[in-house]
Point group: C2
DNA sequence: CGATTTGTGTTGAATAAACGACAAAGGAGC
DNA sequence: GCTCCTTTGTCGTTTATTCAACACAAATCG
């Protein structure tokens, strides 16, 4: 019924439409009620689709949130052409900046501070960061070393960005990124 | 495949969606290219629906235009709560005003002055006017008289409004409506 | 406590839409 | 005249969505 992994370049317009309707309604509701208070029925009623159709696309609302985060974050990456390039200090700095702004924007635009919501966002964004860094390191060292280094970098980037976003009088994201750049770069040094 | 006449109060959301997509794309294209230059393919491409789906809803682009005019005009009528009420000079004045503004707005918003386009608009609007007036006269006189009176009134209203819309320095629509009101009312006098 | 409600996740059958193909009509250029 | 190309309607098949129903879990209420 679905065709996720092989990325079908041209997909049925009906599928495109219903996914857009779902995502649109979901993001509206996210801003209005907060994730915990949203039911699948809310989403399908606003999107004017049948509830069964929702389950044909997503197992539950958590999967929908993951997918939404994933798309939103990747869109930010591509906006800065970070999605498929090599490793460099400039790119790493830009990545840190992206994560900072993504978290900040997410806090503004959603009623967050919900346990489930926050941890799902964290997990999903960390995963994206890690995959991207592994891509950057594609030809460096052994598989094991690459995964390990990417893990360390991803966790530290997300942790630092989160801490920054919670500061009361935070410095500009650019300044913060510059400041922590050497720390993160340190976790990758052995490989580049 | 279609269910027009009995007016199914709740219709399949898929049908609703595709009709909206078609109408939306059509009105955009109308403003951009003019009716004659629009192809069915243009419409379906912009609406991101299959061309065969268009023909499941409308026999051709002319039927689509008729339906669009019909809906737009009825929306104007309902905006002034003229759609289902009785006959009175006030209502008749308001109807004349509505037709004037509808034609004027149509001239602004579409690339018109096309033979086919204009005559389709005319026929459709006249039909709506006539049906409404017949409704107003529902319990006056014989069927024959009602239809005749409504025909006369509908033609004169449309003709007057069209002439008004073509004047170079036209007076305000309100003033014009007031001015021609007795003329139109005269065609209905025998019945009310 | 039981009873009612509300939301979930799933099923099978009916239906609208997508898709690819087709013959045919019309226009443009030669 | 002829060809080339676009658009038109139409058709049969496949696929996505709808709909009504179901059993179940978790709240809510009296």
């Amino acid at each position: 019924m679905l065709a996720n992994p092989p990325a079908p370049e041209k997909l049925d317009p009906r599928v495109k439409r219903t996914r857009n309707l779902i995502q649109q309604s979901f993001s509206e509701l996210l801003a209005e009620k907060g994730f915990a208070n949203i039911t699948v029925q809310d989403i399908t009623e606003r999107a004017e689709i049948n509830r069964a159709t929702f389950y044909a696309h997503y197992p539950d609302k958590f999967a929908l949130l993951e997918e939404s985060i994933r798309q939103a974050f990747r869109a930010e990456l591509e906006k800065r052409t970070l999605s498929a390039c090599h490793y460099s200090e400039d790119n790493l700095r830009a990545l840190i900046l992206t994560v900072c702004e993504f978290i900040a924007h997410s806090n503004e635009h959603c009623k967050s501070s919900e346990q489930q919501f926050d941890s799902l966002v964290e997990a999903q964004v960390r995963k994206q960061i890690q995959e991207l860094i592994e891509l950057w390191l594609a030809e460096s060292g052994a598989d094991f070393d690459r995964q390990t280094a990417a893990t360390a970098a991803a966790w530290s980037i997300y942790g630092l960005a989160l801490q920054w976003s919670r500061q009361k009088n935070r410095p500009p994201a650019e300044q913060f990124a510059e400041q922590v750049l050497p720390l993160v770069a340190g976790t990758l040094k052995p490989l580049v």
